[in-house]
Amino acid sequence: MPKVIIPSPLREYADDQFEINLDGDNLAETLETLVSMYPELKPAITGSMFLSVFINGKRIDSGMEGWNSVILNKGDEISLIIPIAGG
């Protein structure tokens, strides 16, 4: 089961969870499941031009339209990286 790491600025939209284990064979399914569970995340994930996705520390370059061809394996760690600028 893949695990999604929720970045600090988005946790308030996901019941303050740090990470969430989700079903899904590919990245699109998994993130759609996440957004269906926590609709307030949608603007920052499937509706955002600022999001970068990393799986096990490696960037997914395909863009949102290619997420369904990114196959996930048990234990994969999905990092949702949004720009932060606090100094």
Partner: protein, 257 residues
């Protein structure tokens, strides 16, 4: 020449010694932003004996700064941050020359503010200024230590194209900035890591965060590392090729062009 005794404990590090300390003493660093990150960065660089530190900020001290910005104190509320920072830093180490610049950084003044330094530490609180600094650093061939914080989480990476991606490769676009929650311990931790990268670069030791972003989450006390790659179509650094003369410190995971 002032005594090096105050640096004895770092000169005792394997491979450092007098040469490393003199390298630090000959260097000049720009610390852009004197907030939570800048407080930790400037303090650590002063303690380490970096010879000249240019500090830049256009703000005055506000009471809401004081949970994390330890260069400033209750008595400095309303004063220029550069002034209170200079007083604090000078009291820590009289052997370091502090160059205060009370100014915002924009495309019109960045060359003047950032020229003549060997490395830039980005401690700004907005992407607009960060992108300006990034572009100038790329064009001038000066490394940039990026740090940012939100809440108890923070990130650090070492930017030096063509050996690494630039900030615009990593974040091609960013939303408008604004006030964000920050715990002082988080900005202090991330700023200290930025200072560590800066000192390592100057001394020429260790393995820098080139092509890697370090993410620390104080909420869970977990950290992770992301692999970063250059964007060959990056409008800022895409045309910067290999073969330059910038010295390479540590290893580099960034792929070739």
């Amino acid at each position: 020449m002032p005594s090096l005794d105050r640096y004895r404990r770092q000169m005792d590090l394997p491979g450092w010694g007098k040469d490393a300390q003199e390298r630090l003493g000959r260097s000049r660093v720009l610390v852009a932003g004197l907030g939570g990150l800048g407080s930790a960065v400037a303090t650590n660089l002063v303690l380490a004996g970096v010879g000249k530190i240019r500090i830049c900020d256009a703000d005055t001290v506000d009471i809401t700064n004081l949970n994390r910005q330890f260069l400033h104190s209750e008595g400095s509320i309303g004063s220029h941050k550069t002034r209170s920072a200079m007083e604090t830093l000078a009291a820590l180490n009289s052997g370091v020359e502090i160059e205060p610049v009370f100014s915002y950084i924009d495309s019109g003044n960045v060359a003047e503010i950032a020229s003549g330094v060997s490395i830039i530490v980005d401690c700004l609180d907005n992407f607009e200024g960060r992108y300006v600094l990034n572009r100038w650093a790329v064009e001038a061939g000066i490394p940039l230590v990026h740090g940012a914080v939100w809440g108890l989480e923070g990130r650090v990476t070492f930017i030096a194209p063509p050996y690494t991606p630039c900030l615009a490769c990593i974040f091609p676009a960013a939303p408008p900035g604004g006030s964000v929650p920050v715990l002082g311990a988080a900005s202090c931790a991330i700023g200290s890591l930025q200072a560590m990268e800066t000192v390592k670069y100057i001394v020429g030791t260790g393995r820098l965060l080139k092509g890697r972003m370090f993410i620390f989450d104080g909420s869970t006390m977990r950290f992770c590392e992301l692999e970063l790659e250059r964007n060959p179509l990056c409008p800022v650094c895409g045309k910067v090729g290999h073969g330059g003369s910038r010295p390479l410190n540590g290893s580099c995971k960034a792929p070739p062009d």
